[in-house]
């Protein structure tokens, strides 16, 4: 179906090729999962399948890409629209019309499909993706998961034999992501569509994948049977990591597979993990770094946060979890002082007044917040200019003193968080993880004692998440109080001491991560699911238990 023969791609002005000598065959009806970290060429590989590379992006393509027998060198993307359907990361950016029905019809209109057939296909597609009740809705009013399902439907109505999806769930919360992935697996099984999918949430799709193509980052592609490729790939979900550690062969790809092999491992492991899931830096005896009382946020009739009390300690890293719209962001913004706060008070250790009463320059010295789209804060041409501006803002002593000890230059902070970001780079050319690091450095330059991060893991790959975990750990060790709003249970298990779960603007759970994350099977990391009832959260804990020799 898809045949890449010795394909190489070099973008204009680049010194090294993005892809080199790629050979890949995807047969009819297969689900091919493309893995690799950000910048390894996943998107390029996917875009080469329908000819966007090189027709749309520019650059040079060597070798041959055959799609259903058509050579992309001679067929432009628009002429392949009846064979390949493409779905991107941000569905809203790809919508041409503004209601669900018109959007689904758009591709068919371009392909000049007969109106009667168009109508019938559209009805089928609505049912297939479970969006029939949304048919007259405006696209902008849909949730992210619904939008992404509409985007998939819009490319399906042309009845393509191949569907290419580039990280369709990276911008979604877990529930929406589940809906989308369920829809995709249904397409593979019911319709026999050939699917090529790049995805961070490996654990969700791995069980269904027929083939995995791993891009190690040097331009090559290793493709083959999922269990074989994963045994060597650098990017693996915890379940495969655990399988590798214990030496299970073939490698388990789903929690179910692993759980069936686990009884023996569970007998082997001590009842309580010999080490904690992470080393805590919480200063329990010191005065709290931040105390919030009775925080209420309301937008007209909608109450986003309903009288929340919150105490943050120095050195403690807290995960703030809960579904979309449960009030996580509103709470963070209200505590920081920049967002709306209808009532309640916040006091920060070492500061005389509530951050909401200070100027924005004063508030950020007490509490720093990294918003959901960090790039919103970046507006200068180079990384160096951004860092210099951050230092100027930080040294503007008129706004009052900081609370997090002596200030360090933003450059030193950035080198500590993410070494090797060159000063001359344009901030927009950085990867999502690097942008996050830059904004974090800018915010830390003001030396706030409390750091809040609003969904920093969105769009980060395993590697970037591991980097962020390390960063937060070092900040906690230095005595910062940290709150991370996140949907990512695995991330919370690795980086947080405490978990707070919100629902409908109220706190429903507040406790140590080890108990909060193992209490319910739905809200647990993979390792906990496999090893329940044993309270293990991470693969590292299992490794420590199996290997009694302590690491130096």
């Amino acid at each position: 179906m898809i045949h890449l023969d010795q394909v190489g791609v070099t973008y204009d002005g680049a010194t090294a090729p993005v892809l080199r000598d790629v050979r890949l065959r995807v047969e009819e009806g297969e689900l091919c999962l493309v893995i690799g970290h950000t910048g390894s060429g996943k998107s390029t590989l996917l875009a080469a399948i329908n000819g966007l590379v090189p027709h749309f992006t520019g650059g040079t393509l060597t070798g041959r890409v055959l799609v259903d027998g058509r050579d992309t060198a001679r067929f432009r993307p628009r002429e392949l629209a009846d064979v390949v359907g493409v779905v991107g990361q941000d569905p809203l950016a790809g919508f041409v019309t503004d209601t669900v029905e018109e959007e689904l019809a758009y591709t068919m209109e371009q392909l000049a499909i007969d109106p009667a057939a168009m109508r019938a296909r559209l009805e089928e597609t609505l049912d297939l993706l479970g969006i029939a009740d949304l048919r007259h809705r405006a696209l902008r009013t849909l949730s992210g998961g619904q939008q992404q399902r509409v985007a998939i439907g819009a490319s399906l109505t042309a009845q393509p034999r191949i569907l290419v999806l580039d990280e369709p769930t990276s911008a979604l919360d877990p529930t929406s992501a589940e809906d989308v992935l369920a829809a995709i697996t249904r397409l593979v099984h019911d319709l026999g569509v050939t699917v090529v999918l790049a995805e961070h949430r490996l654990e969700r799709v791995l069980p269904y994948a027929d083939r995995v193509a791993w891009l190690p980052g040097d331009g090559n592609v290793t493709a083959g049977d999922p269990a074989t490729v994963l045994s060597q790939a650098a990017v693996v979900p915890p379940v495969a990591e655990l399988g590798r550690l214990v030496g299970w062969d073939p490698l388990p790809l789903s929690v179910r597979d692993a759980r069936r092999r686990a009884p023996q491992l569970r007998r082997q492991l001590p009842d309580t993990p010999p080490v904690a899931h992470r080393s805590a830096h919480t200063e329990k005896d010191a005065a709290p770094a931040l105390t919030a009382r009775g925080i209420v946020v309301r937008y007209g009739p909608l109450i986003a946060v309903r009288g929340v009390d919150l105490t943050l300690r120095r050195g403690e890293s807290t995960a703030l979890m809960g579904r979309n719209g449960s009030g996580k962001s509103s709470l963070l913004w209200a505590v920081q002082g920049s967002g709306r706060r209808s009532s309640g008070s916040v006091s920060v250790a070492g500061a005389a007044s509530d951050p909401a009463r200070l100027t924005s320059a004063g508030a950020r010295r007490l509490v720093g917040l990294v918003p959901q789209t960090p790039a919103d804060l970046l507006y200068l041409d180079t990384v160096a200019a951004e860092l210099a501006q951050a230092d100027r803002d930080a040294h503007d002593r008129s706004a009052g003193p900081g609370t997090g000890g002596e200030a360090v230059t933003a450059r030193a902070i950035l080198d500590d968080i993410a070494p090797g970001i060159s000063a001359g780079t344009h901030p927009r050319d950085l990867s999502a993880g690097q942008q996050l690091a830059l904004v974090l450095a800018v915010q830390l330059a003001a030396a706030p004692a409390v750091i809040l991060l609003d969904e920093p893991t969105r769009g980060l790959d395993y590697q970037a998440k591991a980097g962020l975990t390390g960063t937060l750990d070092r900040l906690a060790a230095r005595g910062h109080a940290i709150v991370v709003a996140t949907h990512d249970v695995e991330f919370a298990a690795r980086s947080c001491d405490r978990v707070i779960v919100m629902a409908e603007g109220e706190i429903v759970t507040d406790g140590p991560a080890a108990t909060a994350l193992t209490a319910s099977p739905t809200f647990a990391p993979q390792v906990a699911k496999i090893l329940a009832p044993l309270p293990y959260l991470t693969v590292a804990q299992v490794a420590a238990a199996l290997d009694p020799v302590p690491a130096p």
Partner: protein, 385 residues
């Protein structure tokens, strides 16, 4: 689900043509029908300054809009047009009062404003002075005519979904329609971006004022929209937008030449028709030739486009009925036969109650039949486009 709709479709078609009145199925009238109807009424309004006829047109437009508009967001704008219409009348009257003009000897003077002497080089304009009833009335009537045109335009926009109206553009102009549609959907996204970035700016301790702040907001927002438009372009390309079908570069050049020549012809024709010193035949000839060239260009350009339309709006008897009752009033008011043409523009000297010419009044009233001829609009579904 799909099977059910498949059977219901032909049945709906039969019923749509066969019955009328209470049993009619709600559906949206063809947008072009509403536009023709509204433009015809606007033409009629522009022909008269008889306050009774203008009031009648106002009333007819109001009745039809009330009866046949939907709940969609674009259909809620009629009161803005009404407000604008009232403002136009008010502004005209105020200007006439302040810049004293149009007062002839023997007018009925209502009151006098203190007069402000203007310098000699500014002669011809006088501020303040006597205000006559005739001057005020003539300003009000002028304003009312303009207001009437505005309301007709508003009615067209309220009754017909503007985006659906764009979809009926001929194939050769399809790209233009898409550009407008995309632009319309990008505007709210831009507003959202600006709000988000402004909020985020405060996290960096910025005050949000001055040139510096402008840059700090504009740069991320522009970056955002640029990225988004690139992604949109890639998406549209992969979804088959711009499939050229079997057009050759030569045929594209011929189309472009025909269109340009046709537009030039239309301009010359319009100039000829409006300028009285140019012989009438030249104007009409130029106009006709231009129109013919444009049409053939559109036809040729449309032929290379291979595209179909999802659920095209049907054109059945209600559309014909709405169009003809609109056109009737325009034709009657333009032909000037069957009634005294002077009654359309009654003089203010001497001041008298205007007479109501029967035939034009009947024609305008007949336009209100559009409310009955048009099928009831579909029930609200929360759609915004």
């Amino acid at each position: 689900m799909s099977a059910v709709t498949g059977q219901a479709l032909p049945a709906a078609r039969r019923r749509g043509t066969a019955t009328s009145g209470g049993g009619r199925l709600p559906r949206a009238l063809h947008p072009v029908a509403w536009w023709v109807w509204a433009c015809a009424l606007a033409t009629a309004a522009s022909r008269t300054s008889n306050p009774l006829l203008l009031l009648l047109i106002f009333a007819v437009v109001g009745v039809v809009v009330t009866a046949r508009r939907t709940d969609a967001p674009w259909a809620r704008g009629y009161r803005f047009y009404l407000g604008m219409a009232l403002a136009v009348i008010a502004i005209r009257i105020i200007f006439r009062i302040v810049f004293e003009s149009g007062v002839t000897p023997g007018d009925l003077i209502l009151f006098r404003l203190p007069s402000i002497p203007t310098p000699a080089w500014y002669a011809g304009v006088q501020i303040g002075g006597p205000v006559s009833l005739e001057a005020v009335l003539s300003a009000a009537l002028d304003g009312a005519r303009l207001a009437c045109l505005l309301c007709c335009l508003g009615a067209a926009n309220t009754l017909a979904n503007p985006k659906r109206a764009l979809r009926v553009l001929p194939g050769a102009l399809y790209e233009l329609g898409v550009a407008v549609t995309v632009a319309l959907s990008v505007a709210p996204q831009l507003v959202e971006s600006v709000q988000r970035v402004r909020r985020a700016r405060r996290l960096r301790g910025a005050s949000g004022r001055g040139l510096h702040a402008l840059r700090a907001i504009a740069v991320p927002v522009l970056h955002d929209s640029l990225e988004r438009s690139l992604r949109l372009a890639a998406g549209m390309d992969s979804r088959g937008y711009g499939r050229t079908g079997n057009a050759t570069p030569a045929s594209r050049r011929v189309t472009a030449t025909l269109m340009l020549a046709g537009l030039a012809g239309l301009c010359i024709g319009a100039y000829g028709l409006l300028d009285t010193t140019v012989p009438h035949a030249v104007g009409i000839g130029g106009f006709a030739a231009g129109a013919a060239l444009c049409l053939s260009g559109l036809a040729l350009g449309g032929r290379r486009v291979s595209r179909s339309r999802y659920r095209p709006d049907p054109w059945r008897w209600p559309e014909w009925a709405v169009v003809s009752c609109g056109l009737a009033s325009a034709v009657v008011l333009c032909l000037n036969t069957g009634y005294n043409p002077a009654a359309l523009n009654p003089g203010l000297y001497p001041l008298q109650w205007p007479s109501l010419p029967l035939l034009p009044a009947a024609a305008i009233l007949a336009s209100a039949l559009a409310a009955l001829a048009a099928p009831p609009p579909p029930a609200a579904t929360g759609a915004s486009g």
